[in-house]
């Protein structure tokens, strides 16, 4: 059956290869762009001492960590979005639908309000509190929902629980915000906008294993996700262990979301839009959709952040603001087009 539109190995690796090249291009180009012109040749030159090489300093210390964090965040949120949409069988689902980001926000805001800086030497308090909050939200949402006889989650109830927990935590965030002084208030607002401005590699190293492992697990259940997205009962009849796949999928997707949100803040719309764009480009098969969304999401957020820090330089537009400003109209267009 020579059908060009159905998955085969050649088409698969061709498509995935293109997304990978796009990602590499974004990764190489983004650190070159900025207020100070630098040269890649000079930055990579080995005959100059690193401390005496301004090009290398700007490339590796000022810009690359930020670009890498954008990549990691974009990749994790996009893959999580794909998985939430499949498991909840809902086009409008996103990584934050089940309350992960608002849980993280509450954790972060409390840490800021209490003026915590470092828990242990080297471990910053705000991201740790945010990650704890994200975990708390995940545990809360899933404990609110009673599973069916075979152990699967009723997705409509799960959605409602997620939305409720989201509202509850958002109110708590407002309360803590209201009780903060002006400096803390500013910090809170900045955190809630999302930002990728880090200047170190430790942060990256601390979340990379989690994101890598989570994405690998989700790629492993890709075909199960295809079948589950056509209906829970159909999936059961096709031999899918629905309860197991739901648990694995929800936990892995929530954890990678919590991991990146604890560092980057709640960057909206990436996890909603990238799955839609990539689905339009390569179709709904999760075996391709997941890795392609990973590369595309990484590239997309790198591009948004690069635009955000250069468009009105020397002032920066927070990346969370930019993704929503670009993403909102795009999504409306997508919805109107579908009708």
């Amino acid at each position: 059956m020579q059908n060009p539109d159905v998955m085969n190995r050649k088409r698969y690796f061709l498509a995935l290869g293109s997304f990978f090249i796009l990602f590499l291009a974004a990764l190489a180009a983004a650190p070159m762009i900025g207020p100070t012109k630098i040269s890649l040749m000079k930055a990579l030159a080995s005959d100059t001492d690193f401390s005496n090489n301004p090009d290398a300093n700007i490339f590796f210390l000022a810009r690359l960590p930020r670009v890498l964090l954008a990549a990691l965040t974009g990749a994790a949120l996009s893959v999580a979005g794909v998985v939430f949409q499949a498991l909840l069988r809902n086009n409008l689902a996103a990584p934050f639908t089940l309350g992960v980001s608002s849980g993280a926000a509450l954790g972060a805001v409390i840490a800021i309000r209490l003026g915590l800086s470092k828990v242990f030497p080297g471990v910053p308090a705000v991201p740790l509190a945010a990650f704890t909050g994200a975990l708390g939200a995940i545990v809360l949402v899933f404990s609110l929902v009673r599973t069916r006889r075979r152990g699967e989650f009723p997705t409509s109830v799960l959605l409602l629980a997620g939305v409720t927990v989201n509202f509850f935590f958002a109110a708590m965030v407002m309360l803590v915000h209201y009780l903060s002084d002006i400096t803390q208030s500013f910090q809170i607002v900045r955190w809630l906008m999302g930002g990728l401005d880090i200047m170190d590699y430790e942060t990256l190293v601390s979340i990379f294993p989690l994101v890598f492992l989570g994405v690998a697990v989700l790629a492993y259940i890709a075909r199960d996700l295809n079948v589950i997205s056509t209906g829970v009962e159909s999936a059961l009849s096709r031999g899918v262990n629905v309860a197991g796949v739901q648990r694995t999928g929800f936990i892995a997707a929530s954890l990678i979301t919590g991991g990146v949100v604890s560092v980057s803040g709640p960057i909206t719309f990436v996890g909603l839009i990238v799955p839609h764009i990539v689905r339009l480009l390569v179709g709904p098969d999760h075996r391709l959709l997941i890795p392609a969304s990973m590369f595309f999401g990484a590239s997309f957020l790198i591009a948004c952040d690069t635009l955000g820090r250069t468009a009105i330089a020397p002032t920066e537009i927070p990346v969370g603001v930019l993704t929503a400003i670009l993403g909102g109209p795009f999504f409306v267009w997508l919805l109107k087009r579908k009708r």
Partner: protein, 284 residues
């Protein structure tokens, strides 16, 4: 997959002396959603090669019965076994290779193409991180030939007609290469041409390939025309079970449906046509 009788070395013959060739056997099966009972004390044997129609009023428990037989729902009380082994003792993929089930309606959230949907039937044969191979495509192609769905293989499932969708779902179930297929009202919301088309496909699969079929049906005439055996359900109980002419009797149907019934025999094939009797209230 080993049943208890085999493991303990006892006689594998079923204890109650009924026919041991039963493909699927339900014994004293009851089921309730929350607290409202749906099925009560169901005993049912389906033999290999049968074409069973499950009929009865709305809410009689037809869909639930099929879901229990397909392992989609788990029995509350009682035993549900396939080839002598409890359904619960099968792994999900094992069961999917033996029994396929078709829902009444299937809506896709995402734009899968027809061929992709059909290939999903191969899921129980594939391990993680694999693509469908030549063998899977061969089986899918054969299923598409049998259901006449090849022409729209690369169209989007959501954009084809209701009759085409139903054929595609049958093709997908066929690629599961199961011995038994359970269908929940496969003709609902189809016009008569499509209804006949679907039932003809099923009849061919039953007579040529020996596929065992159990389907929920509302149209009693079609049930009597195609099925070799009818199971009449009412309020969660089997009221009558047997060949169509024994089940479709005026007195039985009037009691179950609560209306006057007229039964006419089709002069061409002897199938029974069931009409609501009594005068039409608007015209008198």
């Amino acid at each position: 997959m080993m049943g208890n009788e085999l493991k303990s070395g006892k006689n594998p013959e079923p204890p109650n002396g009924t026919d041991s060739t039963a493909l699927i056997r339900l014994q004293e099966v009851s089921f309730s959603y929350e607290k409202s009972p749906v099925l009560r004390d169901i005993a049912l044997d389906i033999q290999r090669g049968e074409f069973v129609g499950v009929i009865g009023p709305n809410g009689a428990g037809k869909s639930t019965l099929l879901k229990l037989m397909g392992g989609i729902l788990q029995t509350g009380r009682g035993q549900c076994s396939f080839k002598g082994h409890n359904l619960g003792s099968y792994k999900r993929k094992e069961l999917a290779r033996s029994i396929s089930w078709l829902p009444q309606e299937n809506s896709m959230v995402f734009p899968f193409r027809v061929l992709e949907v059909i290939l999903m039937g191969r899921h129980p044969y594939l391990s993680a991180l694999t693509f469908e191979g030549a063998e899977d495509f061969r089986i899918a192609r054969r299923a598409m030939d049998l259901t006449d769905t090849s022409d729209f293989a690369d169209r989007f499932y959501n954009e084809i007609s209701g009759g085409e969708k139903q054929r595609v779902m049958i093709a997908a179930a066929l690629t599961q290469e199961s011995e038994m297929m359970l269908l929940d009202e496969p003709t609902v919301s189809l016009d008569i041409k499509y209804q006949i088309e679907i039932l003809n496909i099923l009849q061919r699969l039953n007579s040529d390939a020996g596929l065992t079929l159990a389907l929920a049906l509302h149209d009693l005439h079609l049930a009597s025309k195609y099925c070799s055996r009818l199971v009449l359900l009412d309020q969660g109980k089997i009221v009558k079970d047997g060949p169509p002419h024994l089940v479709l009797q005026k007195a039985i149907l009037e009691k179950v449906y609560g209306i006057e019934i007229r039964i006419v025999s089709d002069p061409d094939d002897g199938s029974l046509m069931v009409f609501p009797g009594g005068p039409c209230k608007i015209r008198t």
